[in-house]
């Protein structure tokens, strides 16, 4: 198993209301302590991509700020290549390539090369290495043709690629990408994700990225960290999440409405969720395999004309998990719903 590069242990961040002197300087909306991250624990290994998913206010940005040293945790700890993010943030920042959500962080009047050279120098790279690496990363992100073009005339997709080039310029072993595809079209988004995957594989880098585009998370088919209101809902492989939570929808067409009625009763008795979607068609949601569902029809199996099984979109799957989590929170507590088989249970 590959090396753990990012380790988060019982991480907690509470934003306290500003002290009186601070309130004299600037108004704050925080009147009560706000728990932005609460008891988070997960790891990201070399070569892995961890997709941070969750609704607005889930704690994604705070988590990234902690991991890049911009804010300190209130409890627990996080390490990047063994360096504590709170106590040794400079070492952490040297090992992390960060892509902020906003492309304003680029110098808009400067060319792509000038932006990359500025970053390379702040990373302490030698001039010779900066020149070589600038050419390399521009080629990797497909921006060689725009190397000497000012950023302000670039499209959103080009700016995103340049931001990614900046993040990987110093060949960091850890990438933290805050909504890297947020401002780009689906085709450019796929290209970006391909570059990120290739970088993670080639450099055995640990990647943490956030995205609201769940189809992208599905396409990455790696690990998922699902957050909700600062708490960890799920951490682990996407496949495992599906196996634990997915209840496929089976659409069955019968030879007559009467057969459908009989089948409806039989299926409901077996414990499946059944919905009539047509006079002779039922939709069945069940956690058991399709063969078992059909087997429960007994002698009425012969009236089945066709069967179609569809995967639940990730959006619906995560939505269901969050709904059940919220209900459970109110009833019993707030432990994560599941953790990965190989990642260490919490």
């Amino acid at each position: 198993m590959s090396e753990i590069l990012v380790e988060v242990e019982q991480l907690r961040k509470v934003y306290e209301p500003y002290a009186f002197m601070m309130r004299l300087l600037v108004r704050t909306a925080v009147k009560e302590p706000v728990v932005a991250v609460d008891d988070l624990s997960f790891t990201v290994r070399a070569g892995e991509i961890g997709a941070i998913v969750g609704p607005n206010g889930a704690g994604k940005s705070t988590l990234f700020r902690i991991l890049t040293g911009l804010t300190t945790p209130s409890g627990g700890r996080a390490t990047v290549l063994g360096a504590d993010v709170a106590a040794d943030s400079k070492a952490v920042r040297r090992n992390v390539g960060f892509m902020p959500a906003e492309n304003r962080t680029l110098f808009l009047r400067f060319t792509a090369v000038e932006n990359l050279m500025f970053h390379g120098r702040l990373q302490g790279m030698s001039e010779a290495r900066i020149r070589t690496r600038t050419d390399e990363v521009l080629e990797m992100v497909g921006l060689t043709y725009a190397a000497h073009r000012a950023v302000d005339v670039m499209s959103s997709g080009m700016k995103a690629r340049l931001q990614l080039a900046r993040a990987i310029m110093h060949e960091p072993p850890v990438l933290i990408l805050d909504e890297p595809t947020g401002a780009v079209d689906p085709i450019a988004s796929k290209e970006l994700l391909d570059i990120i995957q290739a970088y993670a594989q080639a450099n055995q880098a640990a990647v943490l990225l956030s995205s609201h585009r769940l189809e992208e998370i599905e396409a990455l088919d790696d690990n998922v960290v699902l957050l909700d209101r600062g708490k960890l809902v799920y951490w682990g492989a996407l496949d495992r999440l599906r196996s634990l939570w997915e209840r496929p929808r089976i659409e069955i067409v019968f030879d007559s409405p009467a057969s459908a009625d009989v089948a409806h009763r039989r299926l409901a008795e077996s414990g499946a969720e059944v919905l009539e979607v047509g006079a002779s068609e039922l939709a069945v949601t069940s956690s058991v395999p399709v063969g078992v569902v059909l087997g429960s029809l007994g002698e009425h199996l012969a009236s089945v004309v066709s069967v179609n099984q569809s995967r639940l979109p990730l959006r619906d799957l995560l939505g269901r998990m969050l709904d059940e989590r919220r209900v459970r929170d109110e009833q019993v507590g707030d432990r994560p719903l599941a953790s990965p088989a190989a990642g260490g249970a919490q």
């Binding site: 911009l70 990373q123 302490g124």
Partner: protein
């Protein structure tokens, strides 16, 4: 050790280059902003003619007296506001977060971000001296090296105050009230445009709390053609006062800046705008 030095030089080089690229990005704006610095010299030339028979002791030439005050105020203002202004630009542009996640010691930011402005303002000051010479100012050339030492000490001391002010700006994200109050006070108390002996006796001691007073008094004593009888602190007192202020202000400012950054991390203010 050598690796750290090389890395540190690369960081400073990055910031210098940043200043240069910013200037060439808006060339006319740069020229227009700085050309305005020469207008007051002409203004003071005529003031000098108007008040050339004044009874106040101005070292033998009121025009030179005023020009020294003007040039030094501009240079010290760079130390005072240069870092804060650059910080403001980065905050408004939304780039501060990206700079702070670089593996750069945050204590190296003040000098890094202000160095290019210091160089350009120094060149402008030199040009202002040349213009004033053309308009009839008189300087004692042999004391120029010592005057430069005093100016460098003064810039570092005011940079200390600027860093303290910028510490507030990092948290408040706005022009800091500390520097506004200080700048107003310095304009009146420093003796840049008139001898501090003209200040009411009650507030005169305050003049001795700011570096401007010592820098302006010392440079006038070094460069004015007839320095005997000039008001303000003596050359020795100025050097001692300036050194003491520098020794206290600069380390205190860097310490305070570091503490502010840590506090900003704690309350989450470094990534908020």
């Amino acid at each position: 050790m050598i690796g750290s030095l090389r890395r540190g030089l690369q960081v400073q080089r990055a910031f210098f280059r940043l200043g240069w690229l910013t200037v060439v990005s808006y060339p006319l704006g740069f020229v227009a902003n700085n050309a305005g610095a020469f207008v007051p010299i002409v203004l003071y030339f005529f003031f000098g003619r108007l008040f050339e028979n004044s009874s106040a002791n101005v070292g033998g030439d009121i025009f030179t007296y005023l020009v020294i005050g003007l040039i030094l105020t501009g240079l010290l203002d760079t130390g005072l506001n240069g870092f804060g202004a650059q910080l403001d630009t980065e905050i408004k542009a939304g780039r501060l977060e990206a700079i702070l996640v670089e593996p750069v010691s945050w204590r190296s930011l003040p000098f890094g971000l202000v160095q290019f402005t210091l160089v350009t303002r120094s060149v402008l000051a030199l040009m202002a001296v040349v213009v004033s010479l053309l308009l009839g100012a008189h300087y004692t050339a042999s004391n120029v090296p010592m005057a430069l030492v005093v100016v460098i000490l003064g810039i570092l001391a005011t940079l200390g105050i600027g860093i303290l002010g910028a510490s507030v700006r990092i948290l408040a994200k706005r022009t800091d009230p500390v520097l506004i109050v200080y700048s107003l006070a310095a304009a009146v108390l420093s003796g840049a445009m008139f001898p501090i002996e003209l200040l009411p006796r009650v507030i005169r001691p305050l003049a001795y709390l700011i570096p401007h007073t010592y820098v302006i008094a010392a440079v006038r004593r070094l460069l004015m053609p007839e320095p005997d009888g000039l008001g303000g602190p003596s050359l020795e007192a100025s050097l001692i006062g300036l050194t003491l202020l520098l020794a206290v202000l600069y380390p205190m400012a860097l310490w305070a800046f570091g503490r502010t950054m840590e506090y900003g991390r704690k309350i989450g203010a470094l990534a908020a705008y």
